[in-house]
């Protein structure tokens, strides 16, 4: 056995890979060799740490020093200072750069201090392409326990008592779902995993697939034992190439170790897994559409009942859970239902991973106990809003969810509180908006997405969402008419009540919730033909204040439309008929003479 005195963990998640972390790894290898350190120091390729805004991230153990925004030229400093001489490179440290106790740097960063990582427990800690490292941190121990000590009924009972609810959107109790499927009598049953993460801005499932793929395999095998299924499918989108590759490696390794196959770990349990690639249609995240797609058909939903637990894949009883839901299962089995039920709120147990995006400093993934307030997530962990701007609202649940205004910042987040506010948990995307965002424009953005992604099977969704979008387009172009807002409300309610699947039923949510909290903005657009946030271009005019203009001519140089004219000592004028409203002139003007009205 080779003893290494230090491990250098380099993040190879999608975020850090796109900012060159693989190059950093290469450079590190070269420099370690140059300094003859390769036998003392091990480089480990690992999954996402969650602090994607600060990537690429490199963590050095045993100190736990977390280096952020590491560039290829910084590697030399890390090797020559830290690894050779034991001096931590403070300028690259995350958070409090002058942290007194640098030996605990990773845990001392505010971003990590307040998190409780269960589903993300191994992300950024192990090498996801090495099954032994997963095993070392109690991996496959839950599967051993289930196969040797527990009956299928006991497994289901444990999951039920833990209070775990589906993390993909609906929040249905996982144990109850398993019980339905277990009670069915059939010659074949299936276990499926929904890894078709489609919400714009949500990437927690990708992070688990990339950083800890074995936890998914373990949980699905446990589910197979619990309901009596011997086959499983992971439905993942082809847009996640790194996740797919790691998953394939993990499945191969598990087969080699006899963890997947006809006789799992010599216990007689049979379970095998296959990956199915999706082409990235949002509707395939809906359970019936997903299964239709696995069967090889066009991904379209079908009416329920029958529910998948009764008639799912190829008409056989099937359970379908989301990646994050599965990632919780092994820990619940090992730590017990009571432990898990002790975390969170009365009706929402455990933790939830949120993908922070939009106007927030620490873009990335955070896992917090249910019941944490939005304020804690946005300000204490997320680091607040850039440039000191004011928080306006946060969109949870992506295009299926709704917005939460500043007045509800102190609401503890769980499934039920979000529904009460007119939003939903969804898969956990959390997009923050500041004072510069126009809420009508936001609603339009999400509706454009659902109109694009509607599969077209049922008219309420196919035609209804299109009509809503047309009204929104009219309003944002300054052509809103009296009665448009009421028409939107009526359409939204009807679509919600009549669409076939979750996509259509939830598509009106962004409109309904922005209408609920920001009706004044809609009214300003329709009746005063004004966009209060200055986003909707057709209602904007850039004008030059003649008194302030010093005729320097800078604005004419940046104007892409060449529509500003003037001469020395005469104030400049913008030709409104040609102006593209890009705002370049306003940014450039040194005298603040250009205003947006």
């Amino acid at each position: 056995m080779q003893l290494y005195r230090a491990h250098v963990l380099v993040c190879a998640g999608t975020g850090c890979t796109s900012s060159n972390s693989l190059k950093i790894m290469e450079e590190m290898e070269t420099l370690l060799k140059d300094n003859s350190l390769e036998s003392e120091i091990k480089i480990v390729k690992t999954g996402c740490f969650g602090l994607c805004a600060e990537g690429p991230i490199v963590v050095v153990y045993p100190e736990g020093a977390m280096y952020t925004r590491v560039g290829v030229p910084d590697v030399k400093d890390i090797v020559e200072e830290h690894l050779l001489k034991g001096r931590i490179v403070k300028r690259l440290l995350a958070g409090e750069k002058e942290a007194e106790d640098i030996s605990k740097a990773l845990e001392s960063v505010d971003f990590f201090k307040r998190q409780h990582r269960i589903a993300l427990r191994n992300c950024g800690r192990i090498n996801p392409e090495n099954i032994d490292e997963y095993i070392a941190f109690d991996g496959y121990k839950a599967l051993e326990k289930v196969l040797t000590e527990m009956t299928p009924e006991a497994v289901i009972d444990t999951i039920k008592r833990s209070g775990l609810r589906g993390r993909g959107g609906g929040g249905f109790p996982t144990g109850v779902k398993w019980e339905f499927a277990a009670k069915q009598v059939a010659d074949q049953k299936y276990v499926c995993c929904n890894a078709d993460e489609g919400d714009p801005g949500a990437f927690m499932d990708r992070s688990v697939l990339e950083g800890d793929p074995h936890s998914l395999i373990e949980a699905m095998s446990i589910a197979g034992y619990a309901i009596g299924a011997t086959e499983g499918f992971i439905y993942v989108r082809a847009e996640y190439p790194i996740a797919v590759k790691r998953l394939q490696i993990a499945i191969e390794q598990a087969k080699e170790y006899g963890i997947l196959g006809d006789n799992v770990l010599g216990t007689g349990h049979k379970f095998d897994l296959e990956i199915r690639l999706g082409a990235g249609a949002f509707v395939c995240g809906e359970e019936t559409a997903l299964m239709t797609s696995i069967e090889g058909h066009r991904g379209e939903p079908r009416p329920r009942p029958p529910f998948p637990a009764v008639k799912g894949l190829w008409q056989k009883p099937t359970i379908l859970n989301n990646v994050e839901t599965y990632a919780n299962i092994p820990v619940i089995i090992l730590e017990g239902a009571e432990w898990f039920a002790g975390i969170g709120t009365e009706k929402s147990k455990g933790t939830k991973v949120f993908a922070l995006g939009g106007k927030i400093n620490n873009t990335g993934l955070v896992e917090v106990p249910m019941g944490t307030t939005l304020r804690e997530v946005v300000y204490d962990i997320g680091g607040g809003i850039p440039k000191g701007k004011k928080f306006k609202a946060a969109q949870t649940g992506g295009p299926s969810g709704g917005c939460i205004p500043a007045s509800h910042l102190d609401t503890p987040i769980d499934y039920d509180s979000l529904i009460a506010l007119g939003s939903m948990m969804g898969s956990g995307g959390l997009i923050v908006m500041d004072e510069d965002n126009c809420m009508v424009d936001i609603a339009k953005f999400f509706l454009e997405f659902t109109v694009d992604e509607s599969c077209g099977k049922c008219p309420p969704c196919r035609i209804g969402t299109k009509r809503m979008l047309e009204i929104l387009e009219r309003i944002t172009e300054g052509k809103g008419e009296d009665g448009d807002i009421e028409k939107l409300e009526l359409l939204a309610k009807n679509i919600k009540a009549s669409a076939l699947c979750g996509l259509g039923q939830t598509a009106p949510n962004p409109i309904l919730s922005t209408l609920k909290y920001f009706r004044d903005e809609y009214e300003a657009h329709v009746y005063q033909k004004k966009c209060p946030s200055g986003v909707c271009k057709s209602m904007l005019q850039y004008t030059i204040d003649a008194a302030r203009c010093k005729s320097c001519g800078l604005c004419t140089k940046v104007c892409p439309m060449n529509c500003i004219s003037g001469e020395k000592k005469v104030p400049y004028v913008i030709d409104q008929s040609k102006c593209a409203k890009c705002g370049a002139c306003m940014e450039k003007c040194p005298f603040k003479a250009i205003a947006k009205i």
């Binding site: 003893l3 034991g86 032994d132 496959y140 963890i259 770990l265």
Partner: protein
Amino acid sequence: MKSIAELDEIRRKTLEQISLRSNENGLRVIVGMATCGIAAGARPVMKAFMEEISKRKLQNITVFMTGCIGACRLEPIVDIIDSEGNKTTYVKMTAEKAERVVLEHIVNGKVCSELTIGAEESKK
């Protein structure tokens, strides 16, 4: 195919290799590796510690490096801190002395008193 016992064996072995990523550090060996330490021969000392520890399959030991503490004339300096926080400082270390410290101090729990900073300073 692996049996559950084999899986346990993999778990134990791999954990030895990656335990330094968890925060439960037992005994710490801290080698001064600033310019003065390296010039005085700290690298062979550190390597000797690592080789001995790995050869004897000792568990829960982390080899750290640190900077200069100011007593450059006594380098290479090595601190051993046990899990209760008791610290022993060895000075003017060599690879041979490192082997001895591993055997006598780390394995048998007996401080090599004539190699410590106290012994060195009392020679004056």
